[in-house]
Symmetry: C2
Amino acid sequence: MKIARVSETDLIVRIQKRFGNKKPQCGIEIGDDAAAVQNESDKLLLLATDILVEGNHFIRGQISFEDLGYKAMAVNLSDIAAMGGTPAYVLISLGLPPDLKLAEFDQLYDGIQEAALKYGVKVVGGDITSSKFGMVINVSITGYADKGKVISQDGAKPGDLIAVTGKLGGSLAGLLTLMNPNLELDPDIRAKALDKHYRPTPRVKEGVLLAATGKIHAMKDISDGLAKEINTIANTSGVKAMVDAAKIPVSPFAEEIARLLNKDPLEMAIQGGEEYELLFTFASKDYNLLNELANRHKISMHLIGQIEEGDGVLIEASDKIEPLHFKGYQHF
Amino acid sequence: MKIARVSETDLIVRIQKRFGNKKPQCGIEIGDDAAAVQNESDKLLLLATDILVEGNHFIRGQISFEDLGYKAMAVNLSDIAAMGGTPAYVLISLGLPPDLKLAEFDQLYDGIQEAALKYGVKVVGGDITSSKFGMVINVSITGYADKGKVISQDGAKPGDLIAVTGKLGGSLAGLLTLMNPNLELDPDIRAKALDKHYRPTPRVKEGVLLAATGKIHAMKDISDGLAKEINTIANTSGVKAMVDAAKIPVSPFAEEIARLLNKDPLEMAIQGGEEYELLFTFASKDYNLLNELANRHKISMHLIGQIEEGDGVLIEASDKIEPLHFKGYQHF
């Protein structure tokens, strides 16, 4: 059945049933003018939003609706993780083409619900409308952080070490397998690379653990690529970042795709977006403490450089030092 | 200059400058992964969102960008008003066609800022992306309500009176002047009707005052038309609503446009959407208290019917009683 034959009210009832349409003990969820939820006193309220537009962020028919729903959630969860916060409530706005099938609508919500359950957040409301010119998904998320423990992007200090939570370039590798469907690639590697691209892992647990130490000076999630994010940290903090090329952890999927497409895997790791690993800095004296934390909680922490006085970002390879510029995706 | 020639970062800096790019004393605003704001303890957190899609909610070239920005804010403010809450923080997501002019982007934010200042809310973040297939604006809003004072849609009780905060049909009158540009209409009336359509007044003050009495049983804003909203209140509350046609306050703009277009002004008032007046019910014994409140604060309160045991919505005109069905706009 086409979505054009279903009323907005019926779609809302469908969502209510999925997420439980019992009225919460205190507060109001899906279906009223606004949601009213229990609030956490004595914490900072975190707010973030991400819009995914057809033809720009995704191509219908290429990504499954489950993956699209999951990804829309993951990129928002990652924003809260990047502040060291705990995600809590989600609003979903949808602009739906009239030819969308009701089954596809349900699959989209399967992915949304899967991510919501996995990361312990509640979908409490949203808005649904038709959209003649393509599908749009906007997720808004709120979360909480302890006062004094929220981690902004602009707190990096000279003497800090720079670290990331995982290997980079895997999401771009997935995107490149999509753009090169005839690539002779092990199906298992193709599937895993695509998974990196379609189902990124928001580092929520890692963000909370790092924030709890009180030792992290600056943090961002890598949504637009390492090069752009480290430049943002350096610029907003008023410091210089020195990145050691040899220490950047490169995803094995990036290695493999780079080999087949004759690309530079390191460049893929540096410029590739939609990784959603955390990039953060802390005083070098706290390295042991953070290394122990990482070992205890199986956080994959890789040191990739340090912060110095000055400005800009330099990358040091075996034979040269040069500015690290953002060459990745520009929205406009 | 076309927006395609401006980077997302430059647009964000532009917005930061507008709303003040000084870092707040505590917390983080525009430009980081998420905003981190002072939270209000001991209150319920309200969350709402509305998406406006080109070709569906607006036509570029017909509405000014200032009005579009103002309206996107107003419809969200109205959602918080409908819960009896005080709006606080706003996130703006934009999907922008590459041919949008930078001046138009600024005009859009002029309207957003005007509404933000007027209603005392802070724009603390958002997301900007390009959109090949048309412009999209999603506003997400949070607000606060006292525990036990938040007003849901499903609390109407037999014996309640039904009231609205203003005259109805004016927004539809404005829409009809757009659809009938050759109508021989007093320019002043045309301008005022258009203003009702483009710059609806969210009844924030009224919602807060009504909620503070603790006497309101159910409330909604009239976004989809009186007929739909009163049906939602009746259905979700499990009661019957009896509406007295003679008591429905009809906007003078609806009267005038109806006369020129040979339409029924009452039908315009009943079915017309995007009015953003508040529709609410309360026990008849509290009428004097609420009437005094309305007089004291110059709230235009009109009684239009009462709640009874049963189900459905009936409308009583001079000669007949019949079911009041929603015939207005359907998104799909």
